[in-house]
């Protein structure tokens, strides 16, 4: 049985200064295209870090390296006591079960219903789980995002905002300790975007998850961040609270806040 089956299991070990994710000297390039150059970042439990960068700066590459969808050229990514680039598949799967990933394009499985979409990670990670438990967890995750009535719909029948929420529910269903959001509000209208941001804040408060949010949406950055990291030219150019960075005089930082 998975040890983090109960919803509140994370609360017990909450320690405010515990580092849950530590990235050091990360390098990644595609041919001559140097995307990440000596990138460093530490994530403390319970904080919401926003990585801010213009499009094509390598934000998606960064979080894909974290979840091992891409292999970095060098550097370490330490999470749950392991260095991600070094570990084997079975260990990796166990770690992945504790890390949620919200894809930029939602990545809902077109050929499956909403229910099957949510069941998929459950059945995949927790092989010995009964149908009743699965049903209950699907129901709960859908209620969390307020879309319990869409359980038998196909993703193609839903609006963009609904799909984003279903994707979020699918990310939440495994009760992850860390959630990686890849541009959660891109492509949504401002009102729906705000709803999603509120949902993200709510989730962090309820489950004390640690979040790494990738965005260039300033609304999202202001509302959701406890810390902002600026990814410029492949490395961590500046970091601090939203207000600190907003008042920074550096022209490269400034251009994001104009």
């Amino acid at each position: 049985m998975p040890k983090n089956f109960s919803l509140n299991s994370n609360n017990d070990k909450a320690e405010s200064s515990e580092t849950v994710l530590s990235i050091e000297h990360l390098y990644k390039s595609f041919g001559a295209n140097k995307v990440l150059v000596d990138f460093n970042l530490d994530l403390v439990r319970g904080e919401n870090v926003v990585v801010l960068g213009k499009s094509g700066s390598g934000k998606s590459v960064l979080i894909k390296c974290i979840i091992s969808l891409l292999n970095p050229d060098s550097g370490s990514i330490r999470m749950f006591g392991s260095n991600i680039p070094d570990i084997k598949n079975d260990v990796l799967d166990k770690i992945r079960a504790k890390v949620g990933f919200l894809f930029q394009s939602n990545a809902l499985y077109d050929s499956m219903t909403v229910r099957e979409n949510l069941e998929f990670p459950l059945r995949r990670h927790w092989i010995s789980v009964t149908q009743r438990q699965v049903n209950a967890m699907v129901q709960e995750a859908l209620e969390e995002v307020g879309l319990a009535h869409t359980i038998d719909s196909m993703p193609a029948e839903l609006s963009g905002g609904m799909r984003k929420r279903i994707a979020l529910a699918r990310t939440l269903i495994l009760k992850p300790e860390i959630i990686l959001y890849d541009e959660p509000t891109t492509g949504l209208d401002p009102i729906t975007a705000k709803e999603i941001i509120n949902l993200m804040i709510e989730i962090r408060e309820r489950y004390t998850t640690t979040s790494l949010i990738i965005s260039h949406d300033m609304n999202c950055v202001r509302m959701a961040s406890s810390r902002v990291v600026m990814l410029i030219d492949g490395s961590c150019y500046a970091s601090g609270s939203f207000d600190q960075l907003a008042n920074n005089a550096d022209p490269k930082v400034k251009q994001f806040f104009e």
Partner: protein
């Protein structure tokens, strides 16, 4: 003296390069299939689902084409058979033609058109919309879950489709014989069975496994390596059909050589 059109040949060289590169990539992809398909975890449920989608759902299309094929082939052959005074041998000739060659190849081509393109498009759009990444993050080896199941399903289902296609096609042929002649169902089948031998049935049956494998591998390869954007998806669907159709003919050519060498003709 005949001079080689060097310029023309040179203008083809880049595409030759691309062709060779692609052939190498497909070979590597096939190698990856062989290193993965027998290792756990086995995606049995997904395999069955793919068999259903790839095999059972193709039956109406294959059946219709095969039926028309048998009917038309018989009607077309009759006049020349009559010229030689061997119209009574029509079932034998059509039987051999369908079972040996036309059945497997036509059904495989139809299959490539339907399944090759749908696999290419499906995996292509899954790739583009990050569904494949999502699967990997969800503790699933997408190669096993998506590719191995589809390749196996295509490999296992095409021979079944070919067999049923042969049967339907011969039924169509029987109707074709009876448009202008009068041959009982029983006599027709007796003539067919009398004319064919193991060396007609078995090579055709075996080669249809290879046809199915080719369609599966090419479709998956094209989808899995699809470019970003919806145009990329369309292109992978299209080239999956083209490449797998060509592969079918190449395999057919190879098969005929092999059976020849083995003395199975």
């Amino acid at each position: 003296m005949y001079k080689l059109p060097y310029k023309m040949i040179a203008s083809y060289l880049p595409s030759l390069n691309i062709f060779l590169k692609e052939a190498g990539e497909i070979a590597r992809f096939t190698g990856r299939f062989f290193t993965q398909w027998f290792k756990p975890r086995y995606e049995i449920a997904e395999l069955l689902r793919q068999c259903f989608v790839i095999g059972y759902r193709s039956l109406p299309l294959v059946g219709l084409t095969a039926f028309i094929l048998g009917l038309v082939l018989t009607i077309q052959l009759r006049p020349s058979m009559e010229d030689y005074g061997v119209a009574s041998q029509l079932p034998a000739i059509v039987g051999i033609a369908i079972i040996r060659e036309i059945g497997p190849v036509i059904v495989a081509l139809i299959f490539a058109g339907k399944i090759g393109s749908s696999i290419g498009a499906e995996l292509g759009s899954m790739k583009v919309t990050e569904q494949i990444d999502a699967m990997e993050v969800s503790g699933t080896n997408p190669f096993k879950y998506l590719v191995v199941t589809r390749v196996l399903a295509a490999t296992l289902m095409l021979p079944v489709l070919v067999l049923l296609g042969d049967a339907v096609s011969l039924y169509g042929s029987w109707l074709g014989v009876n448009i202008r002649g009068n041959t009982s169902f029983y006599l027709f089948w007796t003539q067919v069975f009398n004319s064919i031998t193991f060396s007609d049935v078995l090579p055709a049956f075996i080669k249809s496994y290879f046809f199915g494998f080719a369609v599966g591998v090419v479709g998956c390869y094209k989808g899995f390596n699809s470019n970003k954007g919806t145009e990329g998806v369309g292109r992978s669907a299209n080239s999956a059909v083209v490449v797998s159709s060509v592969m079918i003919f190449l395999i057919d050519l190879l098969a005929v050589q092999v059976t020849d060498v083995l003395g199975l003709n």
